[in-house]
């Protein structure tokens, strides 16, 4: 016991004020007190201004009831510096079952405490960020709606707001790694497409490797998916009750390009390209062109296919 790296001490409850009668080297090293200031004294010299009275009460109760107790308590060294102590204490009995000693083992868990606090703090920031970002998207939608109402242009407001909300949903995916702003492609696709996937069954399937997206790509991809899904809901595979959309992606050209395939099946049969493409598909084409990406449509009998290509950062 004298040699273990775990700080250990024994107290003798038969003596007045339950003093420490043994402490090992690790105890002196951890607390910074020399033996003459430890032996013969009650353990309370380790307490300090920030020590939680509730954990002291737990310890007192364990001593009173002769129970084993494990608690974390803020203790202080001789030089006044605090440390988090994972204290394990309990009774040691004589052969006749009378109490002989209490043992106490002390383990410095200050770093564990700091890590836990940092984690809590990160979660709190994430919560706050989520709350602010999503509220902001809602407020923007609100302003668009209220303005359009005044201008009697609600139909324009709806078109704008559908896109704002698709962006808002996509940004949930960036909150997993808020310090980097990166988002998993699968999460972005799932969040944007969620409202278009009818409740029954898997009308929209997602299939591809794990890819992290930079924030600027998140916006482009969110709008692109929204436009394709809107188009499919109005005219394509999601307009009826049986059609399906298969969404797949992979990296090509040594990872520099992400290729994203949208494939509709089981919707109304297409006779060929439409005479006029809708505004949504045009907006998407210009966004992709602006990102040095591209899109190619295939108007097949089984439905629309679209192949999006977007350049990816390769600094990983």
């Amino acid at each position: 016991m004298a040699q273990t790296r775990m700080a250990v001490c024994l107290t003798d409850p038969s003596k007045p004020d339950n003093p420490i009668v043994f402490a090992n080297r690790a105890f002196y090293r951890l607390t910074g007190y020399p033996p003459e200031e430890v032996l013969g004294h009650n353990c309370r010299f380790l307490q300090g201004p920030e020590t939680d009275p509730a954990s002291l009460e737990r310890i007192r109760e364990a001593l009173r009831e002769e129970e084993v107790c494990v608690t974390e308590i803020l203790n202080y060294r001789k030089d006044g510096s605090p440390f988090w102590n994972a204290l394990h204490l309990g009774p040691i009995y004589n052969e006749d079952s009378s109490i002989r000693y209490f043992f106490g083992s002390q383990w410095n868990v200050t770093e564990v405490h700091a890590a836990r606090a940092a984690e809590q703090h990160a979660l709190m920031l994430r919560r706050e960020l989520s709350h602010r970002v999503k509220n902001m998207f809602s407020v923007i939608s609100g302003i668009v709606t209220l303005t359009a109402r005044h201008e009697k242009a609600s139909w324009v407001a709806n078109k704008i707001n559908e896109r704002v909300r698709a962006l808002g949903r996509a940004y949930e995916a960036t909150l997993h790694e808020p310090d980097e702003g990166r988002a998993s492609l699968r999460d972005v696709a799932r969040l944007v497409l969620d409202p278009y996937a009818p409740r029954d069954g898997d009308r929209i399937s997602l299939d591809g490797p794990s890819i992290e997206l930079d924030p600027n790509v998140v916006s482009v991809l969110a709008i692109a998916l929204h436009e394709l899904a809107t188009n499919a809901s109005k005219y394509g595979a999601l307009s009826g009750s049986d059609g399906q959309v298969r969404v797949g992606w992979h990296r090509v050209e040594g990872g520099r390009i992400m290729e994203f395939i949208w494939r509709e099946e089981g919707g109304p049969a297409l006779a060929g390209p439409p005479r006029k493409t809708g505004m949504g598909l045009e907006i998407m084409a210009s966004l992709l062109a602006g990102s040095k990406g591209s899109i190619e449509y295939g108007w097949h009998a089984h439905g629309l296919t679209a192949a999006l290509r977007l350049p990816m950062a390769t600094d990983e």
Binding site: R127, H131, F137, G142, N161, R165, L175, D194, P195, P198
Partner: protein, 148 residues
């Protein structure tokens, strides 16, 4: 939106607990279009006042209300009284967050007011009819409950 939803909302008194006034105003006007009368409350205190004045038929609760706390107290009261409500929340979509501990449908922000109206209509209809009320007719987006 199914046409009967508007009939269901006609003349109903709806509480909207929302600290962002622009969001509250948008909801108020949209619910008014559907024939409902909206009481806006920007804080928990005001919401409790509204509830003490006269009963409401349904409610939309923002979960995180900045300095005035969360909607938990109002949600508890509504559950006690059997008043249907939905959570309109910008919270993290994750287990363990407050929004998932309250027994009510969640519509994540940002959402179209029509989504909230449809869900409230569905809840009010559910009080008299079977919960299978959603027909398979075309017209996405379909309102989804939060499934996380």
């Amino acid at each position: 939106m199914a046409p009967n939803v508007e009939n269901i909302l006609a003349g109903r008194r709806i509480l909207v607990l929302e600290d962002e006034v622009i969001i509250a105003l948008e909801l108020q006007l949209s619910f008014a279009d559907a024939g409902a009368q909206v009481e806006i409350a920007q804080t928990v205190e005001i919401a409790l006042e509204v509830l003490s004045e006269a009963p409401v038929d349904a409610a939309v609760l923002d979960v995180n209300l900045g300095h005035s706390g969360t909607c938990a107290e109002v949600a508890t009261l509504l559950l006690e009284r059997g008043v249907p409500f939905i959570l309109h929340s910008g919270d993290l979509v994750r287990h363990g967050e407050l929004v998932h501990t309250i027994n009510a449908p969640v519509i994540p922000k940002p959402a179209a007011p029509q989504e909230l109206i449809a869900e409230i209509g569905r809840l009010l209809a559910g009080a008299t009819a079977d919960d299978e009320g959603r027909d398979g007719a075309a017209g996405p987006p379909v309102i989804r409950r939060n499934r996380h």
